[in-house]
């Protein structure tokens, strides 16, 4: 058996690698769409790779979170860095899932219209960015240093909302999802 610390290292490397690749492909896709890179093949390749890498990253994320909790030397949130890691990873996880859901539900046409393509790429790249920040916070916590230290990120400060505001945010999120699902089903029934 391997220890949870080692398993956490393995799973986080999978997550970070997948999300980094997805982020890079989303960026390349945007550059292709705007004609900065002129390659029709790359449009399709970056679309496929970005979403598959995102999918793989999503599969590995729960393992990273669970093993991270087990590997933590003290139980609970002993430092602000761990709180920030939680916020960043959950936000990135949500962005990644929604990006993948949209691509699956709406198909290729989501990348053929300017507005939806921009939202898709922004969400995908944000998910990658959040996961890379989470990994950076993890490096700062475990080793005391990270590549992103050059930006002097404020990992020691947390933005903790009151429970009421968090509950409202949660409620509005649930309502948004329900509304979106209803709209998707309605659109689907009209087209078919």
């Amino acid at each position: 058996m391997i220890s949870s610390a080692t398993f956490h290292v393995i799973s986080t490397e999978l997550v970070v690698g997948s999300f980094a690749m997805a982020g890079l492909c989303f960026l390349l896709h945007a550059l292709c769409r705007y004609g900065v890179i002129k390659s029709n093949n790359l449009i399709q390749i970056t679309d496929n790779v970005a979403h598959f890498a995102l999918f793989f990253g999503i599969l590995a994320t729960p393992f990273a979170i669970i093993s991270g909790i087990s590997a933590s030397p003290n139980s609970g949130f002993s430092t602000p860095i761990l709180v920030n890691k939680m916020f960043l990873s959950m936000t990135g996880f949500g962005l990644a899932i929604s990006t993948l859901l949209v691509r699956w539900k709406f198909g290729i046409k989501i990348l053929q219209q300017r507005k939806t393509m921009l939202i898709q790429i922004f969400a995908g790249m944000s998910a990658s960015g959040m996961m890379l920040l989470t990994a950076s916070a993890g490096g700062t916590f475990s080793r005391g240093e990270s590549l992103l230290d050059i930006f002097s990120l404020p990992y020691d400060s947390i933005l903790l909302m009151p429970i009421t505001i968090s509950s409202l945010l949660l409620l509005s999120g649930i309502l948004s999802i329900i509304t979106a699902i209803v709209q998707i089903r309605k659109t689907s029934s009209v087209q078919h």
């Binding site: 220890s3 939680m86 916020f87 949209v102 709406f106 219209q113 939202i119 005391g144």
Partner: protein, 359 residues
């Protein structure tokens, strides 16, 4: 060709600015770890090299069952003076797993960093070439245990590892009427800055307690402990305005021979970080759900505009239909030589235009 060279140059630059290292230069923090930390302290234990540090340790006290003793260790050597961060283990065998004192039936009551861990990290002061640590431990079963102290440190991007000679300790049963600390006594290991601290001590077969305490670099101060109830004693140590380590021990008098406890460490430190965990979990879930909702809503809205537009916008289809349904009349009522009807429907108007230009 030029593009490939450019890509190659960028990759070479990225590789050259990175460093290859198997160690964790920032350490992993204090904890209860096996000798190889499960790969956490040093990335790959098979890459460890032998440290030239000399490790010596001293055991104070008699190992009676459920009674504390202390182990003090010092690692020294010129190699240590070059690097500032060191990790030190208290171990009970050298197999690399299941080798913590707890695995051998010993409980760590306190350590010199203010916790109760077998692995301690610290920084070597400038100009010094030694690192010291101590543990107060007690046996929970009658057994014989071999103790080792090992050290981890880095240098030149190489992880170094060293281990002391073993020292056997046989646990003895408690003699009758021995003045002693209560078996379930757990010493306080930390306190907040700027607060005068009342320390509680629980004893058995003790009629009088004298406390000796000292702060690093100062002389020993002696105070008498006050008894509040049977077997419970209290004494007060002054507040500390900066992070520091205070050590104390008790001289226990009773019907049996007087006993001196090992040194216990009381660390003054900043108050620990505290946060409402329920609020953190709720906000995390709220952020997760909220971003999903936002992205789905935006995409649904804009893609609906797109599908509505496509649903009603049929201009191209109608034009195409008209073009395909209204080919020009056939010249002389028959197809030109080599043409099919389908070609005429699509390209017939071009043929008519060419004929008109020729005439």
């Amino acid at each position: 060709m030029f593009r490939r060279i450019r890509v190659l140059l960028v990759f070479s630059l990225l590789v050259s600015v990175s460093t290859l290292s198997q160690a964790n230069p920032g350490g992993v923090g204090d904890g209860v770890f096996d000798m190889q930390c499960g790969g956490a302290c040093h990335g790959d234990s098979s890459l460890n090299q032998t440290s030239s540090a000399i490790i010596e340790f001293e055991i104070q006290g008699t190992p009676y069952l459920e009674q504390p003793i202390s182990i003090s260790a010092v690692a020294s050597g010129s190699q240590l003076g070059v690097y500032d961060s060191v990790g030190m283990f208290l171990l009970t065998d050298t197999t690399g797993h299941s080798d913590t004192p707890r695995d051998a039936g010993w409980e760590i009551l306190s350590d010199s960093n203010g916790g109760s861990n077998n692995y301690l990290e610290g920084i070597i002061d400038v100009g010094m070439d030694n690192f010291s640590a101590s543990w107060t431990i007690k046996p929970t079963e009658l057994t014989t245990t071999t103790f080792y102290v090992s050290i981890h440190h880095g240098g030149d991007d190489i992880p170094y590892f060293g281990i002391s000679q073993g020292f056997d300790l046989e646990v003895l049963p408690i003699p009758d009427n021995l003045p002693r600390i209560a078996a379930d006594f757990i010493p306080q290991t930390t306190r907040d800055l700027g607060v005068e601290t009342s320390v509680k001590l629980e004893t058995e077969d003790v009629s009088n307690v004298v406390i000796e305490w000292k702060i690093e670099g100062s002389t020993i101060t002696t105070v008498s402990a006050n008894s509040s109830e049977d077997g419970t004693w209290h004494f007060t140590v002054p507040a500390s305005n900066q992070p520091s380590r205070l050590q104390w021990r008790a001289i226990l008098d009773g019907e049996g021979p007087s006993q001196i406890t090992p040194w216990f460490t009381l660390v003054a430190q900043e108050p620990p970080f505290e946060v409402d965990e329920a609020a953190v979990y709720l906000q995390s879930v709220a952020l997760f759900i909220f971003v999903i909702g936002i992205v789905l809503t935006l995409q649904t809205r804009f893609s609906r505009d797109f599908s509505d537009q496509k649903q009603w916008e049929q201009t191209e289809a109608i034009i195409g239909q008209e073009l395909s349904n209204n080919p020009p009349p056939l010249p002389n009522g028959e197809l030109p030589q080599g043409w099919t009807m389908e070609q005429w429907e699509w390209y017939g108007h071009e043929y008519v235009n060419e004929q008109e230009v020729k005439q």
